[in-house]
Symmetry: C2
Subunit: 458 residues, 2 copies
């Protein structure tokens, strides 16, 4: 015979829930065994001095979860439940946010200038977008909203020379997500040639998607084509506008040779145009994709550098054959960017705010790049490369080793990455560090360089 030993408490948990939990636990623990009759609802109300609705609430829950069975005119009976080890206690205090303290001088390559972000405009446009809410609550096109894809198609043609139908453009929550989709379209175990030194994301394809990743050396014009041909790769992953991390621009000669490699062999090129919006010496140079017939190049871009890395909006233009594959694999799934964000971005571009923002931030970044490069150039022997475009350049100081540069900076509280961190098989470019400047404030530049010079003793 089972005995109810429950004491109801006034602890914020509803009484029916306390009663339910107690009986469920008794059954799970095996104290209330299969077939045992439970007290009638009426008996329980008077025993516990609770209302009938409390007992009914608990019993209904127990029935719906299968803990007890109701037999008309006979009563309520415990059901069989396999015993399990007891679950752990609820998690104690929530973990504190483990954000590291912000560095004094932010030389990272993923930062953006927070002051430049046009948040008043963005906020207004988001409010306007929300007025369109009923429609935007519906599930969207799995490629991304048609309006945004149309707008991007035109924008990319105008600013980057990309030739792509809106039907072949995908909007996704970041470059990694787009790469995930892309590599579901290739055979498993495909070989990808990645620039060495080069972007981590290309190398991550190995662990995440089982691709073979072959590091290919980079010379002053970009990926070495002899090494590429010898590698047996079917796909070349390149950053021609501003090679990451060396910052070089692939000249048109190498571009056309690379395209010929892809066209003659039926291979693909992934053009990652991650920070092409910013070019400090002339207008952004045209994309590799636009130079080609468009059927061998996958073009990838992002708003992480031109707006903010926290936005999580990127895009990818696919050749027709891959787009057909995509429809087979992904058409039935959801898209990955909130439609409110997509529509706000669409307004932002259509109304001209994005062009204005690019001009304004581009000018600010160019000035900062030149001033910072000039300050570093005052160090005897210092060499600046890769500063014609983008939001970082490479600083080489032949009098020091890379290790001395990085650890010296670290001791002064400054986080700098050496080029070797991006090298795989390639020998490191000696004495070189990657200098991101988007996250620096203009009035910090002198202090930052002075601090580094003191740390390096140069």
């Amino acid at each position: 015979m089972w005995e109810m030993t429950l004491t109801l408490e006034n602890n914020g948990i509803p009484l029916y829930e306390q009663l339910y939990r107690h009986i469920a636990e008794e059954i799970r623990a095996g104290r209330l065994t299969q077939g045992t009759r439970l007290p009638s609802k009426r008996a329980l109300t008077s025993h516990l001095r609770v209302s009938m609705s409390t007992v009914e609430g608990a019993y209904n829950l127990l029935i719906s979860e299968g803990y007890i069975l109701s037999r008309p005119k006979k009563g309520y009976f415990a059901q069989s439940v396999v015993m399990l080890k007891p679950p752990p206690e609820r998690p104690a205090a929530p973990s504190a946010p483990d954000n590291a303290p912000a560095p004094v001088f932010d030389f990272s390559t993923s930062a953006v200038d927070k002051v430049l972000f046009p948040w008043r405009t963005w906020s207004r446009l988001f409010r306007e977008t929300l007025r369109d809410t009923p429609r935007l609550l519906e599930r969207g096109d799995s490629r991304g909203d048609a309006e945004l894809r149309d707008t991007l198609t035109h924008f990319l043609y105008q600013f980057r020379g990309v030739r792509c139908k809106a039907d072949n453009l995908l909007v996704g929550a970041g470059v990694d997500y787009l790469l995930y989709m892309l590599f579901c379209l290739f055979p498993k175990g495909v070989t990808v040639a990645a620039e060495d030194p080069g972007y981590d994301g290309a190398y991550r394809l190995k662990k995440r998607q089982g691709a073979h990743v072959e590091p290919i050396p980079v010379d002053a014009h970009g990926m070495d084509l002899n090494a590429l041909s010898a590698s047996g790769a079917q796909i070349a992953y390149v950053t021609p506008s501003h090679q990451f991390p060396l910052g070089l621009t692939m000249p048109v000669g190498r571009r056309t040779e690379l395209l010929r490699w892809a066209e003659e062999e039926g291979h693909y090129i992934i053009e990652d145009d991650y920070d092409s919006e910013f070019r400090h010496e002339s207008r952004p140079i045209a994309s590799l994709q636009g130079l080609s017939g468009g059927d061998r190049v996958i073009y990838i871009g992002t708003f992480s550098r031109s707006l903010a890395p926290s936005m999580r909006i990127a895009y990818m233009a696919l050749p027709d054959d891959l787009m057909n594959e995509w429809h087979k694999v992904f058409r039935q799934g959801g898209d990955s960017v909130s439609r409110f964000d997509q529509q706000t971005l669409n307004r932002f571009i259509v109304e001209g705010h994005y062009s204005r923002h690019l001009r304004r931030s581009g000018a600010a970044y160019s000035r900062r790049c030149q001033r910072l490069a000039a300050l570093f150039s005052e160090i005897p022997g210092a060499l600046i490369t890769g500063d014609a475009a983008g939001l970082h350049f490479v600083l080489t100081l032949p009098s020091k080793t890379e290790k001395q540069l990085v650890s010296g900076a670290r001791q002064a509280g400054i986080f700098l990455t050496g080029v070797s961190a991006y090298c795989h098989k390639a020998p490191a470019v000696p004495s070189s560090v990657v200098v991101g400047f988007a996250g620096l404030k203009d009035d910090q530049l002198k202090d930052a360089v002075r601090t580094l010079r003191a740390a390096w003793d140069v």
Copy 2:
């Protein structure tokens, strides 16, 4: 000798850009061959009657892209460029948005009630979030923002009995994205047992991630455990709160047996709790994850049903061992949901709006479910199942075949899905269609059922 045949036009494209494009095209087309000297800048200004800055702009671009080489005191020379087939013309008119016209009566299972969405509150909270902008522009934790993960951890414990540390919770852009990450942590070619009939997403794992997917029959209590054991699967993908599409709730007895399968064999269970927020007969029943020690169950939930499918916010609680794997593979990548959206959602939950919204919409959906079920029950022989929870139920009309039900509805302009659409090896539940009601308006219910009865002649 090469001759300049350019006519500059007043067509909105800057003159230097027209000049640059013309010369680049001449080089690409092979009319201006390697080593050919170009006109001096001065000669070109007078020939074309343009300013020096126009010519300099064009020449600088050509140099930076590698089309021409500048030799001091000698002039400008065309470089070698491999000839390519000419790129296609720019895409013509943008493709029109291919949204199908909205159905009169929306019986789909992915709809939500658009009137219920608290867009005034959401809009206000988003504005407040934007004030926090500088911080939120920075790249976030790749698991999702710590504040939101803390809040969700508490919410999930309170409402679903999920026991999970914030450190083990991932926020991602939809269930498909979370499943992508999850299956990167398992060995390639792992076998997944999926409910049959069951959710498409489980079956998509085959094409997308190379998993073997074994359909396992579903009985009145959920996945058949004998078939599961016999299948050799290492992972069981289940929807215990409201089986999709049959709508049944897995009773606690089957739950504990399923957990024992996982614990004894070291297997995993994926608990997809996609619409567990809505239960029409009692409060939402506790999760399978909470019943377990927490180390065999992967818990997945989404805001697609409880807020809107266009939001693209879902979450996944991982056991410790998988979380450790996740750090190796994904820690270096970006997260997939805008931090503005994450923080707005966090405010929405913390300030109590989400609980209120769930109560309000839950009550509205319960009423609608009951009214619609009652209307269908008036059809002679009609049977309603799976209506205790969620946003859809199954209607069975033994006097008709499923095909008659689906095509009859289609002829009346109503899109209904038969249960067989979700069947793989399992024999279809005869004469049954899936009825989603979240997208219907309350004043449409009578008309909708009347229209269907006329179409079916019942």
